[in-house]
């Protein structure tokens, strides 16, 4: 079926891994290839993982990936990202001179609770015992590990 989204979509797999797919219509692919052949020859399809500081929105290029054998529908996994940051992904064409032409960009993906200014009515003075309990809970790892009953017939 047609109606491709003409977008790159970034999905959170978990706080250290992001999944990205791109979904282009034949007409969009045609446009990009035309641009990369006749207007800006030498560009190669490229993904850029942009780190975003959730506190001040500073951004930087964390990784670049060149996509060989590019097709209109494809995907990628960015593994081992920093769980304390937010991220977005840019899809574009990169030249040998380092220039980057943006084709599409994802929204920012939050990997942790969004920052929020709250009134400091909540005391952060945790008693030693309570702190011990919390540390105990955290050291047990994700509770979801225990959600492992096999549903072998489903």
């Amino acid at each position: 079926m047609g109606n491709q989204q003409n977008a790159v979509v970034c999905l959170l797999q978990d706080r250290k891994n992001l999944h990205l797919y791109w979904d282009l219509s034949p007409e969009r692919l045609n446009t990009l290839e035309h641009f990369m052949t006749h207007v800006r020859p030498g560009l190669k399809f490229c993904l850029r993982l942009i780190g975003v500081n959730p506190e001040n929105n500073d951004r930087w290029i964390e990784r670049e990936v060149f996509l060989e054998d590019f097709s209109a529908l494809g995907n990628w996994y960015f593994r081992g990202v920093n769980p304390d940051l937010d991220y977005l992904v840019e899809f574009g064409g990169k030249g040998e001179d380092g220039s980057f032409v943006l084709f599409s960009r994802t929204p920012v993906i939050n990997l942790q609770a969004p920052s929020w200014r709250y009134k400091a009515t909540v005391s952060t003075d945790i008693t030693q015992a309570k702190g011990d309990w919390l540390r105990f809970l955290e050291n047990q790892g994700s509770s979801a590990v225990y959600n492992g009953v096999e549903r072998s017939d489903q």
Binding site: V9, A113, W133
Partner: protein, 952 residues
């Protein structure tokens, strides 16, 4: 003496989540997948009902929360399913009777076989006689008695964090709540997020739907911002909403779920993997096997015994002893846990213990017995604990803290991995495409006919069924992979088919009927649930539901944000068309990176935000490409959201060429291109790669268009020559101006004016030189240069060199209002262009009654008749220009006569109504212009220059 009420140290909130994927009954006989429902009914749901009724009859104080998914609710109230279950149950009862008889003298198995016989009799009696197949009635009764709080979950248990649109998430939630209310008669106050899957922003949707709470995973609660000092032992309100989150307790989960340390693994409990369906003779079993296929019967005679394959016979009494021990152990742990936290909290803490209902009874056979025992123990007076529902707790102890939450789920890994990995990631592009197209079509059909409505409704159903979290879960766990894949392909495929049919030829009625019968969830579904969220695009509105013929005009600039005449032309043409009754939507670029839609004089103008990376801000062609992609996406959305409209595309100049090409190809639109100027003409040739690239784009736009328009005979010839079109392959429609009423104006004497972009081709340098030559003769004369551009500095240097800085003033870019004032007040307006496709500012000067002097080039030579409506000079000839200026300065009467004739010419021949009508004619011609390829059919083309008469 009245006994004092024992103090409640803390609360235990057991939450059971009951869900099975919707199984269509496509076959005459039950399928193996329907057996999941039958097993759950026999081993979990009915035993739980009996247990809770027992407790209620004994006046045991207990409360718990039960979530029932809509697919399960559908199947529990489906007469076909209930009939099939009845048959299954009777069959199983018969088998148990035969087993009891067969093993009557077997010292090992007689007791367990007899146990099953009695148990199945009890369940059969409950289902057939006591409940009369209506399982909702006892639930409602328990709720009325205050023992149960009943909530629900997503419509088809779709995993919300991986959906692409807010509308899809909202539809899952909204439909579920409506369906629940239709079945039970009230709306739940809380919701179970499928798989406990939370992502930031969901709370806004829940708030909008009036949902008061949901349950979040332990780590989701602990990593909230700020981290709650009550850990998971009190609810927390989500910032900015009235929605609360309860945190799942880790410890209670571990005690039940853990494969190695949890209660279900106790060696005295029933072994799931030994079933008589695999052990006994096939011929004996065959009448009792679904489809005659060997499989589990539910009659399992062995206990876990140990880690090896050796299994001993199940002893029910011993198992029940373990149940009691585990219940006591569970209670003791809860007492310890709650006492600890009570010491540090202002209010009694709550332990939230959610479980899949099917765990109890099906996987862990003794589970319902264990839970019953726990509830009995907790209800005893001196435990210090009370059971509660989540809503009851919230009423007593509202959340006192707010926080934001990050993404989380209760799946393995704690996030989305179970539903997104290499085994199942292929489903998301298709799911997301369907989401977005459904959203577009729901807006495009506000008042559909009955067949379209049914088609849209069913497309939504198919999407919902494809969204079930069960399918990617199964693909990950590699269990019944073929089945999950087949279901996904079926629902996605049918959804896609329906959407294509809705967009093209119409829905196949026979297929639609079949789907409505088999995939029959949510009979009252209205597809408009997919567009019930307010637009979240801020001030930018994608139009929807348009009808009739709609012109989409693509223009890189539009007033008030324009640098040249193109934007003014587009505006005036569009507004005149709108006055003539033609719907026009202009798609253009916002200079402020902020999207906005306005309606101005009948024209919808969509200013699109174009984000460009900082490092590419100076990359002109990259910027052009970027805004073309944004335009194509926006206009494409427009087309999709108005399936009944007939769209025409009108592109202005090469800068929107990519968008035009893409839209034309994708939607098979009629494409019209207006060429306002050419790169070759602007630069008198092509001298560098950038100019060659632009020329190529112009060429592609011209050859890709069905109709090409230009504004002068000069441009017509230039386009035909440059791009190899046949003679007269281009429609010539001149520009026009808006005429304000003629007013007698007192003009300033000897003020010469230029208005336009300061680029070399406008020839301002020629004017400066001419002015320098006459400045000695006319010491009071001054020259005003209004405009901006890359040539400004060079011109200013020239003025300085000539020592004329006190006689020549540069005003920079002027807005239209200032421009009009300047034209009305000056004595002569000069347009000394070296290259000019049309020269609209000259036309504006003529319209304002200003005497004009123009170079004899391009469109200027066509607009101004030398000596009649103005004076002309040879391009680049400063001497001849000087002579023209002197002639007018010396003879104000001549100047007045020329300006009067000029005004009359504009009134008669360059008005927007005529131009707009002519353009509309071009749009609606039967035969497209085929340019260089084929000259036939172009016999109605203009052979002589067209100066459009006022009346067309």
């Amino acid at each position: 003496m009245r006994e004092s009420k024992p103090e409640v140290v803390g609360y235990l909130a057991v939450v059971l989540h009951a869900h099975l994927p919707f199984i269509p009954h496509t076959a005459a006989e039950p399928t193996l997948e329907e057996k999941w429902l039958f097993e759950a009914l026999t081993e979990s749901y009915i035993p739980f009902l009996l247990s809770w009724e027992r407790l209620a009859e004994e006046n045991v104080r207990f409360q718990l929360t039960l979530s029932i998914s809509p697919p399960l609710l559908t199947m529990l109230t489906d007469s076909v399913e209930l009939e099939r279950y009845s048959k299954y149950l009777r069959n199983l009862q018969e088998l148990s009777e035969r087993e009891a008889e067969r093993t009557r003298n077997d010292p090992h198995y007689a007791a367990v076989a007899e146990f099953y016989r009695r148990r199945l009799r009890e369940i059969g009696h409950a289902f057939h006689e006591k409940y009369r197949t209506d399982l909702l009635a006892p639930l409602k009764k328990l709720k009325e008695l205050g023992h149960l709080e009943i909530i629900t979950t997503g419509a088809t248990h779709g995993f919300l964090p991986l959906m692409a649109t807010e509308e899809a998430k909202y539809a899952q939630l909204h439909l579920a709540l409506d369906y629940f209310e239709a079945k039970f008669g009230w709306r739940p106050s809380g919701i179970w997020l499928p798989e406990c899957g939370y992502c930031p922003g969901l709370e806004r949707l829940l708030d909008k739907l009036g949902i008061g709470y949901f349950i979040i995973s332990s780590h989701g609660m602990l990593s909230a911002n700020p981290r709650p000092e009550t850990a998971v032992y009190a609810p927390v309100r989500l910032a900015g909403t009235q929605v609360n989150a309860f945190g799942r307790d880790w410890e209670t989960s571990h005690q039940v779920w853990s494969r190695t340390e949890g209660y279900p693994g106790d060696y005295w409990y029933r072994e799931f993997y030994r079933d008589i369906g695999w052990d006994l003779d096939y011929d004996y079993l065959q009448p009792y096997l679904l489809g005659g296929v060997r499989g589990d019967t539910g009659l399992k005679y062995h206990r876990i015994t140990g880690k090896s394959d050796y299994k001993e016979v199940y002893q029910r009494d011993k198992a029940l002893e373990r149940v009691k021990e585990h219940a006591r152990d569970f209670l003791a742990n809860r007492q310890r846990q709650l006492s600890y936290w009570r010491g540090t909290m202002k209010q009694p803490p709550i332990v939230v213990a959610p479980y899949d209902t099917e765990l109890f009874g099906h996987w862990w056979f003794e589970g319902p017995d264990w839970l019953e025992e726990v509830l009995r123990l907790v209800a005893q007076r001196d435990t210090g604990i009370a059971t509660t529902t989540l809503q009851s707790y919230l009423w007593k102890y509202p959340a006192s803290h707010e926080a934001t939450f990050g993404p989380s789920s209760w799946g393995e890994g704690g996030y989305n991995r179970v539903w997104l990995n290499e085994e199942n990631d292929w489903i998301y592009p298709r799911l997301h495409r369907a989401e977005k197209l459904i959203k577009a079509l729901t807006e495009g059909y506000p008042q559909p006919g009955p067949e379209v409505k049914r088609g849209l409704n069913q497309a939504v159903r198919e999407l919902l069924l494809a969204q079930s979290s069960d399918w990617p879960f199964i693909l990950t766990n590699r269990t019944v992979v073929d089945y999950a894949r087949a279901r996904l392909e079926w629902h996605l495929g049918q959804c896609e088919r329906l959407l294509v049919e809705l967009l093209t030829n119409g829905v196949d009625p026979a297929n639609l009927r079949y789907l409505e019968e088999t995939d029959r969830v949510f009979p009252g579904l209205d597809y408009r649930v997919f567009c019930s969220l307010p637009a979240s695009d801020g001030e930018l509105m994608v139009p929807a539901g348009l009808a009739g013929t709609v012109v989409i005009m693509l223009s890189w600039e539009y007033p008030p944000w324009h640098v040249g005449g193109l934007g003014v032309h587009v505006r005036d043409l569009a507004e005149t068309m709108a006055r003539l009754g033609q719907a026009v939507h202009v798609v253009t670029v916002s200079p402020h990176n902020q999207g906005k839609t306005i309606v101005q004089n009948g024209v919808h103008v969509h200013f699109l935000a174009v984000d460009v990376p900082q490092e590419a801000r100076d990359d002109f062609l990259a910027w052009v490409l970027r805004f073309n992609l944004v335009m194509a996406d926006f206009a494409g959305e427009m087309v999709l959201r108005s399936p009944k409209a007939r769209f025409l595309l009108h592109a202005h100049d090469w800068m929107v060429g990519y968008a035009a090409r893409e839209l034309k190809a994708r939607f098979d639109l009629l494409g019209v291109a207006t060429i306002h100027a050419t790169e070759h003409g602007r630069n008198r040739g092509l001298h560098n790669p950038l100019q060659h690239a632009i020329h190529r784009l112009e060429e592609e736009l011209v050859h890709g268009a069905d109709r090409v328009i230009c504004c002068s005979r000069y441009m017509q010839k230039e386009i035909e020559t440059l791009f190899g079109l046949a003679a007269d392959g281009v429609y010539m429609i001149p520009n026009a101006v808006n005429l304000s009423p003629a007013v007698e104006i007192v003009r300033k004497e000897q003020v010469i004016l230029f208005i336009g972009r300061l680029v070399a081709e406008k020839g301002v340098q020629v004017l400066i030189e001419a002015f320098a030559r006459l400045s000695g003769l006319y010491p009071d004369a001054s020259l005003v240069i209004a405009g901006s551009g890359p040539y400004t500095e060079e011109l200013q240097n020239m003025v300085r060199r000539l020592g004329l800085t006190d006689r020549i003033r540069f005003m920079g870019f002027v807005a239209e209002k200032v421009r009009d004032e300047l034209l009305k007040s000056c004595s002569i307006a000069v347009f000394p262009s070296l290259y000019e496709p049309f020269g609209i500012v000259a036309l504006e000067a003529m319209a304002s009654g200003t005497p004009v002097v123009v170079s004899r080039t391009g469109g200027l030579a066509e607009i101004v008749e030398d000596g009649v409506s103005g004076l002309c000079f040879t391009p680049g000839d400063a001497g001849e220009l000087q002579r023209c200026l002197v002639k007018l300065l010396q003879s104000p009467a001549t100047a007045r006569e020329l300006s009067k004739n000029a005004r009359l010419r504009v009134e008669q021949e360059f008005n927007w109504e005529a131009v707009a009508k002519r353009t509309l004619e071009v749009y609606h011609r039967e035969q497209p212009v085929v340019g260089a390829k084929d000259n036939e059919g172009a016999d109605d083309r203009q052979r002589e220059p067209v100066l459009v008469p006022a009346e067309v």
